[in-house]
């Protein structure tokens, strides 16, 4: 153990274990989290090559291998609680994202919430057994948060009782969804629904995109990886061009909105239903801000405790750089922010769980405020965390620039939170709308 860091720990004025319990939400939570983490740490199947030393293709392959192993082992251990699944994956994936993330984060939850009973009986077993590996294709090359601007069309043909899915322009090609490029064989595609000559806005359709045995793209499907990015090297973010692809009427998710065999359209009971999912995802992202910050300031503060440099008093030994006021002024506000956002993340999660029961019971009264708050806090915390991670990286000098520090990875894996699930400026303006209305 480095003597400097040992000395630091001896100076502490509080019991670290107690604070860990508070951050976990109780001693039992800490115990269980560590049990789950040790399952991964002691599992030889999760031995891996350092991703920094691998090519893009090798990184993707290693991520798919780990995803496949996680699925089997989580079942084998009977881990069902969402928090515990999250702990398991988090330590297995380290600072990187999993290739099949959207299967779990979007595809399965959408099936659970938007299939009618017949569809649920067909699709959920297929998805849960990974015969069907799916993604969620909403964003387009030329269109993002403004959903009404999406161009992909689903036109109903009553003669054959099929929908024809089409990408009418280059800008309408689906773009970004994780797992779309090489991994998935189905996608839930968000498209403008046309029936009997009328457009009824965005609806969700299950579209087969690859053969379930050969994994070859199906006729009319042009699919692939969008190429190297700032980070997310483990994930095949993809593109999807639909060339008049026909799918049966039953592939439109019909728990709420419906299209009858003759093409008659039935409206959903409430347009607020999709807000619930958005609030959920944005609440999770607030927690991500806290976790990324915690990592970044753990690295930079521990390193600042062991790094010695230049002098405060002439002739005296080089001090720890953490003794410089400027270093403290860089890092301690970030540390405080990490704690602040950890508590906000806990609050958002508890609030969402508290009112999601009301939402299911049809009481939407608190949803507008929570929707506005979650949008704003998602933007506020991710913007702040994004620049704070950069402060941590720079505070480690040149070594912060080396991939060995993990700070570049933490930064490039975190920064997309400022643009995905709603670009931050748009999020802030959504909150402003509520504020001005209030």
């Amino acid at each position: 153990m480095n003597p400097d860091i040992t000395k630091e720990r001896l100076n502490a004025t509080f019991d670290v274990e107690k604070l860990i319990n508070i951050l976990d939400g109780g001693p039992e939570k800490t115990k269980r989290r560590r049990e789950i983490e040790s399952m991964v740490l002691n599992d030889p199947d999760f031995k891996e090559e350092d991703p920094n030393f691998l090519s893009r293709s090798e990184r993707y392959e290693q991520a798919v291998r780990k995803s496949a192993q996680m699925i089997l082992k989580i079942r084998e251990y009977g881990i069902a609680d969402p928090d515990e699944i999250y702990h398991y994956k988090n330590i297995a994936m380290g600072n990187h994202h999993e290739a099949m993330g959207l299967q779990f984060a979007m595809f399965l939850p959408t099936l659970y919430s938007q299939c009618n009973p017949q569809q649920a009986r067909k699709w959920i077993p297929l998805a849960e057994s990974f015969r069907v590996v799916g993604t969620y294709a909403q964003t387009e090359l030329g269109h993002g948060t403004h959903l009404r601007g999406l161009e992909t069309t689903a036109t109903y043909d009553p003669a054959t009782q099929e929908f024809v899915l089409n990408s009418p322009t280059i800008s309408s090609i689906k773009w970004w969804p994780g797992g779309l490029g090489k991994t998935s064989n189905h996608a839930i595609v968000l498209a403008q629904l046309y029936t009997q000559g009328n457009c009824h806005g965005l609806h969700a359709f299950i579209v087969p995109i690859r053969d379930m045995d050969t994994h070859e793209p199906l006729p009319g499907i042009v699919v692939g990886d969008i190429g190297p990015k700032f980070g997310f090297n483990e994930v095949d973010n993809g593109f999807l061009k639909l060339e008049n692809v026909r799918i049966p009427r039953e592939n439109m998710l019909m728990k709420y909105a419906k299209v009858e065999p003759d093409g008659t359209y039935e409206k959903p009971p409430s347009s607020k239903l999709t807000y619930g999912t958005m609030v959920f995802i944005r609440s999770i992202i607030v927690g991500e801000s806290a976790r990324a910050l915690s990592k970044a300031c753990t690295i930079s503060i521990r390193y600042s405790a062991v790094r010695h440099q230049s002098e405060i008093k002439p002739g005296s030994p080089e001090p720890q750089i953490l003794d410089y006021q400027t270093q403290q002024y860089k890092l301690f506000p970030v540390l405080a922010m990490a704690y602040a956002f950890t508590f906000v993340g806990q609050y958002m999660k508890q609030t969402y769980l508290r009112i999601s029961g009301d939402i299911n019971a049809g009481d939407f009264s608190e949803l507008p405020e929570l929707h506005a708050l979650s949008a704003g806090l998602k933007a506020f915390t991710t913007w702040a965390a994004n620049s704070a991670i950069e402060v941590c990286r720079m505070s480690c000098g040149g070594h912060g620039y080396s991939r060995s520090s993990a700070l570049p990875d933490i930064y490039v894996e975190f920064t997309p939170t400022c643009t995905y699930e709603g670009e931050n400026t748009v999020m802030m303006l959504q909150t402003a709308r509520y504020l001005v209305k209030s």
């Binding site: 508070i22 330590i91 060995s404 209305k437």
Partner: protein
């Protein structure tokens, strides 16, 4: 803001807009007499974050109204006020964060932990004021001398936190495998592991990289 202005009673976290409206009706305007602020009193500081938020919401709403008076459409008025609107949301969210942080302290029973997390909360709150000082000064919520006090207080808080810095990041309980960082290793043995890591770089698989034979050596023979 509109509902509050129309005298409607608001519920939830935005109810502070009612208070702002109520205060506006009082004789002394907000900017005339800044509230007396104890810069060590978190509850009082949360209060001025709230006033800052309501001030910026009002600024944004007024900007929209001015645009509308210039016969702009509602949409254009909104777009021409977007900068103020984003700042208002930012201030609203900042207020929510300091409020929740302060409330969380009330749940912490252990005195030593309560003390160190209170120091963190105070640092976060005061640092937020100094990095957004223009708002607080412009809204008349703080004076320049108070700002100077706050800057001095932040320096004290840095020294107060210094002994617990490593313990506070240890409390995130991030296993080395999860962190995957040579600089952030729990044992602090950074340099030997940094050297080991570098030596495993694929570029070091051979002592002499093939590019030497392919390009550098031939280059010499040509010069």
């Amino acid at each position: 803001y509109k509902q509050a202005k129309a005298g409607q009673r608001l519920s939830g976290i935005v109810s502070y807009l009612n208070e702002a409206e109520h205060r506006r009706v009082q004789v002394q305007p907000v900017a005339a007499r800044p509230p007396v602020v104890d810069i060590n009193d978190l509850a009082g500081l949360v209060e001025i974050y709230k006033l800052r938020a309501s001030y910026l919401v009002e600024l944004a709403a007024k900007s929209i109204q001015q645009e509308l008076q210039r016969r702009k459409s509602q949409e254009d008025a909104w777009n021409n006020s977007a900068i103020e609107l984003v700042r208002a949301s930012d201030a609203h969210c900042h207020y929510v964060v300091v409020k929740l942080f302060t409330e969380k302290l009330g749940e912490i029973g252990d005195t030593a932990i309560h003390s160190v997390t209170s120091t963190l909360a105070l640092l976060y709150t005061l640092h937020g004021i100094t990095t957004n000082s223009g708002d607080f000064l412009q809204a008349g919520l703080l004076t320049v001398p108070q700002m100077m006090q706050i800057s001095a207080r932040i320096k004290e808080l840095l020294c107060q936190l210094r002994p617990n810095a490593v313990a506070l990041v240890d409390s995130f309980d991030l296993h080395d495998k999860k962190l995957n960082s040579v600089l952030g290793r729990y044992d602090g043995n950074v340099y030997e592991h940094m050297f080991d890591w570098a030596r495993r770089s694929p570029l070091n698989a051979t002592e002499v990289h093939e590019s030497f034979h392919k390009y550098l050596k031939p280059l010499r023979s040509k010069l």
